[in-house]
Amino acid sequence: MGENPISIHVLGICSALAITTKIDTAVVMTLAVIAVLSISNTVISLLRNNIPNKVRIIIQMSVIASLVIIADQILKAYMYDMSKLLGVFLGLIITNCIVLGRAEAFAMQNSPGKSFLDGLGNGLGYGAILISVAFFREIIGFGSIYGKQIITNQMYLSGYENNGLMILSPGAFFILGLIVWAHRAYTKVLDKE
């Protein structure tokens, strides 16, 4: 709880803004990040005693990039429409600071088993934030949850309107800010106890 990558370490926000307009894209992105993060952490941990120090970062990046490419290929084959919605952002997982950050900070110094769990944990934490942001943006911006229309026609007719700001990036910034704020306030409360 005190180590969530986005709200505490404030890492990996870029894609958090772009693909959280709807919950389904956020879910697929989360799964991709969890997969890449846990596998790259495990692989790098397995190699950690053999990687020459000079090329350490390059090797880490090569492993991560290869996993991202493979993830993209799998998505294009089995979830074509989703791969079009995620577009460049799936490829941009390599630039997500969380992935390289955990590889360097954790996987290089810990056993494969622990590294795998670290990847899993960070991925889930990242996903929790992503899906939360997407939940608010989708319900306020589109009136639906996971594609299912929640705000009824009746409510639209009586004057309710979807908030267009939520669909644009500023909306994501606001929601993200509120979530980070709320999380940190809660953690502070936990620390005091």
């Binding site: 990687i51 020459p52 294009k76 089995y78 074509y80």
Partner: protein, 234 residues
């Protein structure tokens, strides 16, 4: 300290293994990906020609069957003549997708592509059976910025094209221009213009340019169609 030889050796091995994994994945999945792309193209052609899927779900079988039953592919040469046994490796051949509804010709779709701001944009453009009224436009592949140039694939932008006219009063091809700002109702040329995208002028200009260029390629064929329609209606 490890020797440089070890460093080079290690990096080489890792690179080869990773490269191998990527190639194997790409190769194994290629067929499936190609099927997906083909289906996506068919879906795009159907949607630009006005076949809606709001009421019935479009499974891959449905797409295939609607496409096979209603769309006919015509190949023409640069002079506008239909080619019967086309040599598809010849880059000068042009494709037209002709749609029929209840046995009657209902529209034509052509592939369009050209330079946007960040890269090549690919889409389809459809016109009514009169070959002069716009039926629809879609962009299935582009590299434009989401929220700016990326708006080309949004309904609001695409719907503005529907009903616009491609030819002027003299029967000359003028295509459609994506202007800057909003089209004024008092503009006498309003039927040849659509509203631009705020913050995406270059994308809009690109679309205007390559739409005209592609329509001009097909003009020999469509001019004939219009002439035939005129004769028919006499």
């Amino acid at each position: 300290m490890r020797s440089d030889t070890y460093t080079i050796f290690f990096t080489l091995i890792v690179t080869v293994i990773l490269g191998l994994l990527i190639s194997i994945t790409a190769d194994t999945l290629r067929t499936k990906q190609e099927i997906n792309e083909d289906l996506d193209i068919k879906k795009n052609i159907l949607s630009v020609l006005g076949y809606s899927h709001s009421d019935v779900e479009w499974t891959s079988n449905k797409i295939q069957s609607i496409y096979e039953n209603n769309i006919k592919e015509i190949i023409i040469d640069s002079k506008g003549n239909e080619v019967q046994k086309p040599d598809l490796s010849n880059v000068d051949v042009l494709k037209i997708y002709q749609s029929t509804e209840n046995g009657l010709l209902s529209g034509y779709a052509i592939p369009i592509s050209g330079k946007g701001l960040w890269g090549t944009m690919y889409g389809y453009f459809a016109m009514d059976s009169d070959a002069s009224t716009v039926k629809g436009i879609t962009f299935y592949k582009h590299k434009e910025t989401p929220g700016l140039g990326g708006e080309v694939d949004k309904d609001w932008f695409k719907n503005n094209f529907v009903g616009k006219k491609l030819i002027d009063a003299d029967g000359k091809l003028v295509s459609i221009e994506v202007i800057k700002g909003y089209v004024s109702n008092s503009d006498s040329n309003a039927s040849h213009k659509v509203d631009g995208i705020s913050g995406a002028t270059i994308t809009g200009k690109g679309v205007t340019t390559f739409l005209k260029k592609d329509l001009q390629k097909y003009e020999p064929y469509f001019a004939k169609i219009r002439k035939l329609n005129q004769i028919d209606s006499l």
